[in-house]
């Protein structure tokens, strides 16, 4: 498989702040690669280094085997879709798209043909003469992408381009972007802080934190088997449950939570018996009132509130020890009888939870229930 973008041991420091710290990754040709991380994690700096607006302090960036050190942005076979799109307001849509072609001295007839082509492909036929400010948010989005794609770059870089759109449009654009990428076959490198964007669109996702890559893998990998507590917190939703390790081997551990519940769980890293550990348990991993409890970790919780949110409905529950847990509430009418104040039994499979050694200082993930 061809590698379109190869970043090797890249580091970038601003003053004393290390924005990108020893990052290495490969992006295979024609794939959709996302870098997911909270704001300030260095993902934009990384992308700007690939685009050529920053030079790495050390390490190499190669696009299809060619080292990019010292190559200015206007000579790199990579184009960037900016966060706020940066469409040129002084030009028409066609003018925006033709800008790069004109710089390459393509003749006028050819420019007109290719501009028309690309507008068709992004679903905006006949929009060439419109002014940029006449377009809706989603249309601007597509023009910004078309403006880059018309140059047939080897790598298309996208810097949170959906950030400015409203929720509904964002959902729609996610699917459209994915389709567009499959259609044109260009390698996309997409950065975002929105896990859903990364999971829905990508072939591979790298989770970035504090300048480093925590884990790289397929969206399913990241969701099912996070390798670090950060990934467990950041990708998907998780209940974090502190406790102590009772026994452990390479794959499994037995954890006694601070409220005295004992669970068998998959070990995400080496755990020493007797040490503190955090158990990560997804709301959707817990089954409400399981018919079979054989092989499951089962316990009873009291329902505090029903958080109704359509398909994403959950129960806010509490264990007898007082720890709050979010439990997914499937909307298949089976659990319509559940009301606040009731006690329900929940069970989960040891493979669907994961346990890591407790961290010294844990950054708060915004969505986790607080103890």
């Amino acid at each position: 498989m061809d590698i379109d973008l190869r970043v090797t041991r890249c580091t970038k420091t601003f003053g004393t702040f290390r924005a990108v710290d020893d990052v290495t990754f490969d992006v295979p040709a024609g794939s959709f690669f996302s870098i997911l991380g909270p704001s300030g994690c260095g993902k934009t700096t990384l992308l700007r280094m690939v685009a050529g607006f920053e030079e790495p302090d050390s390490g190499t960036i190669a696009i299809r085997g060619r080292d990019m050190r010292g190559v200015p942005p206007n000579r790199r076979p990579a184009n960037l879709v900016f966060q706020h799109l940066a469409l040129f307001p002084m030009m028409t849509v066609a003018g925006n798209i033709a800008f790069g072609l004109k710089r390459r001295k393509v003749d006028a007839k050819e420019i007109a043909r290719r501009t028309g082509d690309i507008l068709d492909r992004v679903g905006l036929p006949g929009y060439g003469d419109k002014r940029v400010d006449q377009l809706s948010g989603g249309q601007r989005q597509r023009v910004a992408i078309a403006r880059c794609l018309v140059l047939e770059p080897l790598v298309l870089l996208l810097d949170e381009p959906l950030g400015a759109l409203d929720l509904k449009l964002r959902e729609q654009m996610k699917v459209e972007l994915k389709k567009l990428q499959a259609k044109v076959g260009t390698t996309f490198v997409y950065i975002t802080h929105d896990q859903s964007e990364a999971l829905v669109m990508s072939d591979a996702v790298a989770v970035m934190n504090k300048g480093r890559f925590e884990q790289t893998g397929s969206p399913q990998d990241l969701y099912r088997s996070p390798e670090t507590p950060f990934v467990a917190r950041f990708v998907g939703e998780n209940n974090v449950w502190p406790g102590r390790v009772e026994t452990s081997d390479a794959r499994r551990a037995v954890i006694r939570t601070d409220e005295g519940l004992v669970f068998a769980v998959r070990a995400g890293a080496a755990l020493t018996p007797g040490s503190r550990a955090d158990l990560f348990l997804r709301p959707e991993a817990m089954r409400i009132e399981p018919r079979e409890t054989e092989g499951l970790n089962a316990f009873t919780v009291a329902v505090r509130t029903v958080l109704f949110d359509g398909a994403n409905s959950r129960l806010l529950t509490a264990t007898p020890g007082g720890r709050e847990l979010l439990v997914a509430l499937p909307q298949n009418r089976r659990f319509d009888h559940i009301e606040p104040g009731q006690n329900i039994s929940v069970g989960w499979h040891p493979e669907s939870g994961v346990c890591f050694p407790a961290e010294g200082t844990v950054p708060d993930a915004p969505e986790e229930p607080r103890p």
Partner: protein, 284 residues
């Protein structure tokens, strides 16, 4: 309602009085005066002669053409110099040095124009600083004549006008999103094409308003052309001065004053038409 209208009038009154008493009234007086001339019998009466004189005497309209052409040249050079200066102040330098740099641009304007022009004279005259240095390092044997030339005059005018171009350009350039420049670069734009296609079109309103101010200031300047341009390079304002003070022909002077006003407005109108802009857009 009535009360707020009263307050409006109270605040408007000084402005209106200023306009009426100091601008409209004198100009009306001058306008009337410009249409009056002595007939063959030495009697004052209505006449177009003052205006006819301007067009029939080549010395007058040639002076005007010369003044206009040099003002256009001055405006152009001011623009060429102001663009990189503004770009440096807005986009290159770190924000905390911006104020200091702007102050440096502003600083020469804290002294009077006379002092500024005199500074140039000290530098450029035949026994001046520049000639002294040139002789000292052996580049020239005899002092070069630098002052009292058209080049010196244009330079003096550019120097005097810089601020009025730099400030409006800075304010429009400030609103140019850096990512537009980066995007243009990313799409393969060269420095020249980024200037031509992104920065200049964006800065057009600022450039236009700066150009209008610089052009009008140069056209109406008296001191710099008079002191730095030497004896045989007449500026149109000097012709007006001559009519009023030397010839004591106020009627002719008033006509010249009005011609300056009308013709310069025409030039600006033409300039706006050529660059396809509207005065209202530029002023806002």
């Amino acid at each position: 309602m009535r009360r707020s209208r009263l307050i409006l009038w109270i605040f408007l009154a000084p402005v209106l009085m200023w306009l009426a008493l100091l601008i409209v009234l004198p100009h009306l007086d001058l306008l009337v005066m410009s249409f009056r001339a002595k007939d063959e019998y030495g009697k004052m009466g209505f006449s177009l002669r003052n205006y006819v004189t301007f067009f029939t005497e080549p010395i007058y309209w040639l002076t005007f053409v010369r003044t206009a052409v040099y003002s256009v040249i001055t405006t152009f050079f001011t623009f060429v110099l102001a663009m990189p200066v503004a770009f440096y102040i807005v986009k290159v330098v770190r924000p905390r040095f911006r104020g200091a740099l702007l102050t440096l641009v502003l600083l020469p304007f804290w002294v009077s124009e006379l002092v500024r022009v005199y500074g140039w004279m000290i530098l450029l005259r035949e026994s001046g600083v520049v000639n002294f240095l040139l002789k000292k390092i052996g580049l020239v044997d005899a002092p070069i004549r630098m002052l009292y030339t058209d080049a010196a005059m244009v330079m003096g005018l550019v120097y005097t006008s810089m601020l009025f171009m730099v400030v409006p350009v800075i304010s429009v350039m400030d609103s140019l999103d850096d990512s537009l420049i980066e995007a243009a670069c990313d799409l393969g734009g060269s420095t020249w094409s980024i200037w031509r296609e992104i920065i200049l079109p964006h800065c057009k309103p600022g450039i236009t308003s700066g150009a209008i101010v610089v052009f009008m200031l140069s056209l109406g300047n008296y001191l710099t052309p008079n002191l730095m341009g030497g004896k045989n390079s007449l500026w149109f304002t000097e012709q007006i001065y001559n009519q009023f003070i030397a010839s004591f022909n106020w009627n002719q002077g008033a006509a010249f004053g009005f011609l300056l006003l009308v013709l310069s407005s025409l030039i600006i109108w033409a300039g706006l038409r050529i660059s396809r802009q509207k005065l209202g857009e530029v002023a806002s």
